[in-house]
């Protein structure tokens, strides 16, 4: 449960940062034009200049998730030494449901497995590449093939549009040691 708590705090801080950014942008805009021209047409004049700045702050609303929902990596365990380059990873989800990408049933999402990478931006769709695997069919496990060495794995749930929830549902980032063989 502590993982979920941390995840939630991280999410809230992220939101807070965005809100602050939005507020400060608003303050700058409000102060900027005022001394120059006291006439009403100020807002339209200021708008085009402010638009590029305001756009990132007005991020889409993230899909809500209940506070007690969480995801975890059922296997492997953190620190696991795996004597095969091919192994199964199963995804645990509690107090929440799984749904394929493109569906928008409340309290559901689909899994993403982050491999050897940090968390992506939580307000944007999760990238889709070798380090960010999408399970848009609603899969709850996968078979990975990784080269021998040290790797990290982390699960991140996202909504029908691949954007993490609010608070974001993510597992602990675990480290595994893949050995040749098997």
């Amino acid at each position: 449960m502590s993982t979920g708590g941390k995840a939630m705090r991280a999410g809230q801080m992220g939101l807070l940062a965005i809100v602050l950014a939005g507020l400060s942008a608003g303050v700058v805009r409000a102060q900027g034009p005022a001394p120059q021209t006291p006439v009403p047409p100020t807002p339209p004049a200021a708008a085009p200049a402010a638009a590029p700045v305001a756009a990132p702050a007005e991020t889409r609303k993230r899909t809500p998730a209940p506070a007690d929902a969480y995801v975890y990596i059922g296997w492997p365990n953190d620190g696991e030494v795996i004597r095969s380059t091919k192994f199964k990873v199963w995804f645990g989800t509690r107090n929440f449901g799984v749904a394929p990408a493109g569906t928008n049933v409340p309290n559901t999402g689909h899994h993403h497995l982050l491999i050897d990478t940090g968390l992506p931006g939580l307000d944007d769709p999760i990238p889709n590449d070798r380090n960010h695997l999408h399970f848009g069919l609603g899969q709850t496990e996968t078979v990975l093939e990784l080269p021998p060495g040290t790797h990290t794995l982390q699960l991140l749930m996202a909504d029908g549009d691949h954007v993490p929830h609010d608070p974001p549902l993510m597992s602990r980032k675990i480290t595994i040691y893949v050995r040749p063989g098997g």
């Binding site: 995804f91 989800t93 799984v98 309290n107 559901t108 069919l137 496990e141």
Partner: protein, 150 residues
């Protein structure tokens, strides 16, 4: 697997609901939806023969080669879990009954909180499509027996 077990026992019950009750319209012959031949469902935990103290536990439901979708969401090669407790498989060409012995997980859940009285019990999983009808071929797990001790 021992890790899962201790984790499972460590989990505190949060007023957990056994299953989401979904209105199932009375049995109607439905089209059977296809599933890949290599897809399968299985009970991750508990293990067959597991002895469980106290009778409150989480069942972890595994699915390989296919995906989970909530009831009512139609997408090829997906379905939602049903857990059959102390009962045999229902007819595989009809909607799965919805009662104390046939729990539906129509919100796409992959874990089920159970509370069972002391004694021997059987558990078996059966995947159902968006209309709660098993697929073709039907995906059901091995029927396992567990023993609950007070």
């Amino acid at each position: 697997m021992r890790g899962f077990a201790s984790c499972c026992f460590g989990a505190v019950a949060l007023g957990a609901v056994l299953a989401t009750t979904l209105a199932v319209s009375p049995g109607r012959a439905a089209d059977t939806k296809p599933m890949p031949e290599d897809a399968r469902v299985y009970i991750i935990w508990p293990a067959d023969g597991q002895v469980i103290q106290g009778g409150k536990f989480w069942v972890r439901m595994g699915l390989s080669g296919a995906g989970i979708a909530p009831a009512g969401v139609e997408k090829q090669y997906t379905g939602h879990h049903h857990l059959i407790i102390d009962a045999d498989l229902p007819p595989l060409d009809e909607e799965i009954p919805n009662d104390r012995n046939h729990l539906h997980f129509g919100r796409g859940q992959t874990e089920a909180r159970l509370e069972l009285p002391p004694g021997k019990h059987t558990l078996q999983m059966l995947l159902g499509d968006d209309n709660h009808v098993p697929h073709k071929p039907p995906l059901y797990s091995k029927k396992i027996t567990i023993t609950v001790v007070p």
